[in-house]
Protein backbone atom coordinates (compact mmCIF):
# COMPACT_ATOMS: atom_id res chain seq x y z
CA UNK A 1 0.00 0.00 0.00
CA UNK A 2 1.43 3.35 -1.03
CA UNK A 3 1.90 6.08 1.56
CA UNK A 4 3.56 9.43 2.09
CA UNK A 5 6.58 9.02 4.37
CA UNK A 6 7.79 11.61 6.87
CA UNK A 7 11.26 11.37 8.41
CA UNK A 8 10.21 10.09 11.85
CA UNK A 9 9.10 6.55 10.96
CA UNK A 10 12.22 5.93 8.87
CA UNK A 11 14.54 7.25 11.57
CA UNK A 12 12.72 5.18 14.20
CA UNK A 13 12.75 2.02 12.07
CA UNK A 14 16.52 2.27 11.72
CA UNK A 15 17.26 3.25 15.34
CA UNK A 16 16.57 0.60 17.96
CA UNK A 17 16.89 3.17 20.76
CA UNK A 18 14.08 5.27 19.32
CA UNK A 19 10.88 5.20 21.38
CA UNK A 20 8.86 4.52 18.22
CA UNK A 21 11.12 1.78 16.82
CA UNK A 22 8.57 -1.05 17.21
CA UNK A 23 5.68 1.11 16.00
CA UNK A 24 7.67 2.21 12.94
CA UNK A 25 8.68 -1.32 11.97
CA UNK A 26 5.12 -2.62 12.36
CA UNK A 27 3.65 0.31 10.44
CA UNK A 28 6.14 0.07 7.58
CA UNK A 29 5.35 -3.62 7.20
CA UNK A 30 1.65 -2.77 7.02
CA UNK A 31 2.02 0.13 4.57
CA UNK A 32 4.39 -1.76 2.35
CA UNK A 33 5.19 1.06 -0.07
CA UNK A 34 6.54 2.37 -2.33
CA UNK A 35 6.79 5.54 -0.30
CA UNK A 36 6.26 9.00 -1.66
CA UNK A 37 8.60 11.42 0.06
CA UNK A 38 10.86 14.41 -0.55
CA UNK A 39 14.59 15.04 -0.70
CA UNK A 40 14.23 17.34 2.32
CA UNK A 41 12.86 14.43 4.34
CA UNK A 42 15.52 12.02 3.11
CA UNK A 43 18.22 14.60 3.92
CA UNK A 44 16.90 14.78 7.48
CA UNK A 45 16.91 10.98 7.73
CA UNK A 46 20.45 10.76 6.34
CA UNK A 47 21.68 13.32 8.86
CA UNK A 48 19.98 11.55 11.77
CA UNK A 49 20.82 7.95 10.89
CA UNK A 50 23.97 8.04 8.76
CA UNK A 51 22.34 5.55 6.37
CA UNK A 52 23.16 7.49 3.21
CA UNK A 53 23.86 4.39 1.14
CA UNK A 54 20.47 2.89 1.99
CA UNK A 55 18.73 6.10 0.97
CA UNK A 56 20.47 6.11 -2.42
CA UNK A 57 19.48 2.45 -2.85
CA UNK A 58 15.88 3.16 -1.88
CA UNK A 59 15.59 5.90 -4.50
CA UNK A 60 17.40 3.86 -7.15
CA UNK A 61 15.11 0.88 -6.73
CA UNK A 62 11.91 2.92 -6.59
CA UNK A 63 11.11 2.17 -2.95
CA UNK A 64 11.34 5.87 -2.24
CA UNK A 65 9.66 8.05 -4.86
CA UNK A 66 10.66 11.69 -4.78
CA UNK A 67 7.31 13.43 -5.06
CA UNK A 68 8.21 17.09 -4.92
CA UNK A 69 10.92 19.69 -4.74
CA UNK A 70 11.63 23.16 -3.42
CA UNK A 71 11.23 24.45 -6.95
CA UNK A 72 7.95 22.80 -7.88
CA UNK A 73 6.26 23.11 -4.49
CA UNK A 74 7.62 26.48 -3.40
CA UNK A 75 4.26 28.24 -3.19
CA UNK A 76 2.59 25.51 -1.15
CA UNK A 77 5.58 25.14 1.17
CA UNK A 78 5.85 28.87 1.79
CA UNK A 79 2.17 29.02 2.65
CA UNK A 80 2.63 26.22 5.19
CA UNK A 81 5.73 27.80 6.71
CA UNK A 82 4.21 31.25 7.00
CA UNK A 83 1.07 29.83 8.61
CA UNK A 84 2.91 28.55 11.67
CA UNK A 85 6.33 29.18 13.18
CA UNK A 86 6.99 25.65 14.46
CA UNK A 87 6.91 24.05 11.01
CA UNK A 88 10.17 23.29 9.28
CA UNK A 89 10.98 22.87 5.62
CA UNK A 90 10.68 19.08 5.66
CA UNK A 91 7.24 19.29 7.36
CA UNK A 92 6.13 21.79 4.74
CA UNK A 93 7.29 19.50 1.93
CA UNK A 94 5.14 16.68 3.33
CA UNK A 95 2.07 18.92 3.54
CA UNK A 96 2.69 20.03 -0.06
CA UNK A 97 2.96 16.39 -1.11
CA UNK A 98 -0.30 15.57 0.68
CA UNK A 99 -2.02 18.35 -1.27
CA UNK A 100 -0.96 16.62 -4.50
CA UNK A 101 -1.88 13.12 -3.28
CA UNK A 102 -4.73 13.88 -0.87
CA UNK A 103 -5.93 10.30 -0.41
CA UNK A 104 -2.58 8.77 0.56
CA UNK A 105 -1.98 8.23 4.29
CA UNK A 106 0.89 10.25 5.79
CA UNK A 107 3.14 8.11 7.99
CA UNK A 108 4.66 10.26 10.73
CA UNK A 109 5.76 9.89 14.34
CA UNK A 110 5.22 13.62 14.90
CA UNK A 111 1.53 13.55 15.77
CA UNK A 112 1.74 16.68 17.91
CA UNK A 113 2.88 18.91 15.06
CA UNK A 114 1.23 17.20 12.12
CA UNK A 115 -2.21 17.24 13.75
CA UNK A 116 -2.10 21.04 13.48
CA UNK A 117 -1.04 21.09 9.82
CA UNK A 118 -3.71 21.97 7.28
CA UNK A 119 -3.68 21.67 3.51
CA UNK A 120 -4.65 24.51 1.19
CA UNK A 121 -8.30 23.45 1.35
CA UNK A 122 -8.08 23.51 5.18
CA UNK A 123 -8.45 19.72 5.49
CA UNK A 124 -6.33 17.76 7.96
CA UNK A 125 -3.75 15.30 6.72
CA UNK A 126 -4.86 11.62 6.74
CA UNK A 127 -2.26 10.78 9.35
CA UNK A 128 -0.96 7.42 10.59
CA UNK A 129 0.90 8.10 13.84
CA UNK A 130 1.63 6.44 17.18
CA UNK A 131 -1.22 6.76 19.72
Amino acid sequence: MKAILDAGPLIAAWDKSDAYHHWAQTTLKKYSGPYLTTELVLGEVAHMTGKDAAIFEGVRTGRFIIGGSLKTDAAAMQRVLFACAHRDLADASIVALSEKEPHLPVLTSDKRHFSTHRRADQTALPMVAPQ
Partner: protein, 84 residues
Amino acid sequence: MSDTMTLGRRRTVRFAADIDRQIAARAAAENKPVSEIIRASVLAGLQMDGLTAGDWIVSLADEPARPASPARQAFRKKYLARHQ
Protein backbone atom coordinates in the same frame (compact mmCIF):
# COMPACT_ATOMS: atom_id res chain seq x y z
CA MET B 1 6.78 -21.74 -22.38
CA SER B 2 10.52 -21.33 -22.10
CA ASP B 3 12.20 -18.16 -20.92
CA THR B 4 13.63 -17.70 -24.41
CA MET B 5 10.17 -17.76 -25.95
CA THR B 6 8.95 -15.22 -23.39
CA LEU B 7 11.72 -12.75 -24.13
CA GLY B 8 10.84 -10.24 -26.79
CA ARG B 9 7.15 -11.09 -26.92
CA ARG B 10 4.84 -8.10 -27.27
CA ARG B 11 2.43 -7.93 -24.36
CA THR B 12 -0.51 -5.79 -23.38
CA VAL B 13 -0.41 -4.79 -19.73
CA ARG B 14 -2.97 -2.57 -18.05
CA PHE B 15 -1.78 -0.43 -15.15
CA ALA B 16 -3.89 1.24 -12.50
CA ALA B 17 -4.41 4.96 -13.08
CA ASP B 18 -1.99 6.06 -10.35
CA ILE B 19 0.75 3.84 -11.77
CA ASP B 20 0.04 5.21 -15.26
CA ARG B 21 0.51 8.72 -13.90
CA GLN B 22 3.80 7.78 -12.23
CA ILE B 23 5.13 6.23 -15.45
CA ALA B 24 4.12 9.27 -17.49
CA ALA B 25 5.61 11.67 -14.94
CA ARG B 26 8.90 9.77 -14.82
CA ALA B 27 9.08 9.60 -18.64
CA ALA B 28 8.51 13.35 -18.87
CA ALA B 29 11.00 14.14 -16.11
CA GLU B 30 13.73 11.98 -17.63
CA ASN B 31 12.80 12.75 -21.26
CA LYS B 32 12.69 9.04 -22.10
CA PRO B 33 10.12 6.83 -23.90
CA VAL B 34 7.48 5.25 -21.68
CA SER B 35 8.65 1.78 -22.76
CA GLU B 36 12.13 2.48 -21.42
CA ILE B 37 10.74 3.65 -18.08
CA ILE B 38 8.60 0.51 -17.80
CA ARG B 39 11.52 -1.78 -18.74
CA ALA B 40 13.81 -0.14 -16.17
CA SER B 41 11.13 -0.27 -13.49
CA VAL B 42 10.41 -3.94 -14.07
CA LEU B 43 14.13 -4.73 -13.89
CA ALA B 44 14.44 -2.75 -10.66
CA GLY B 45 11.47 -4.64 -9.27
CA LEU B 46 12.98 -7.99 -10.19
CA GLN B 47 16.16 -6.99 -8.38
CA MET B 48 14.32 -6.20 -5.14
CA ASP B 49 14.63 -9.77 -3.84
CA GLY B 50 10.88 -9.97 -3.37
CA LEU B 51 10.98 -7.50 -0.49
CA THR B 52 8.36 -4.78 -0.25
CA ALA B 53 9.70 -1.31 0.47
CA GLY B 54 8.52 -1.65 4.07
CA ASP B 55 10.19 -5.04 4.61
CA TRP B 56 13.35 -3.71 2.97
CA ILE B 57 13.53 -0.75 5.38
CA VAL B 58 13.00 -3.03 8.37
CA SER B 59 15.70 -5.40 7.11
CA LEU B 60 18.26 -2.57 7.22
CA ALA B 61 17.90 -1.79 10.93
CA ASP B 62 21.00 -3.84 11.76
CA GLU B 63 23.10 -2.59 8.86
CA PRO B 64 26.04 -0.35 9.83
CA ALA B 65 25.63 3.39 9.33
CA ARG B 66 28.06 6.23 8.75
CA PRO B 67 29.61 7.10 12.16
CA ALA B 68 27.90 9.99 13.93
CA SER B 69 29.91 13.12 14.63
CA PRO B 70 29.48 14.82 18.02
CA ALA B 71 27.50 17.53 16.23
CA ARG B 72 25.10 14.96 14.77
CA GLN B 73 24.70 13.26 18.14
CA ALA B 74 23.86 16.60 19.75
CA PHE B 75 21.38 17.39 17.00
CA ARG B 76 19.72 14.02 17.48
CA LYS B 77 19.15 14.76 21.18
CA LYS B 78 17.42 18.01 20.26
CA TYR B 79 15.39 16.20 17.57
CA LEU B 80 14.18 13.56 20.01
CA ALA B 81 13.23 16.23 22.54
CA ARG B 82 11.15 17.98 19.88
CA HIS B 83 9.42 14.91 18.51
CA GLN B 84 8.86 12.57 21.47
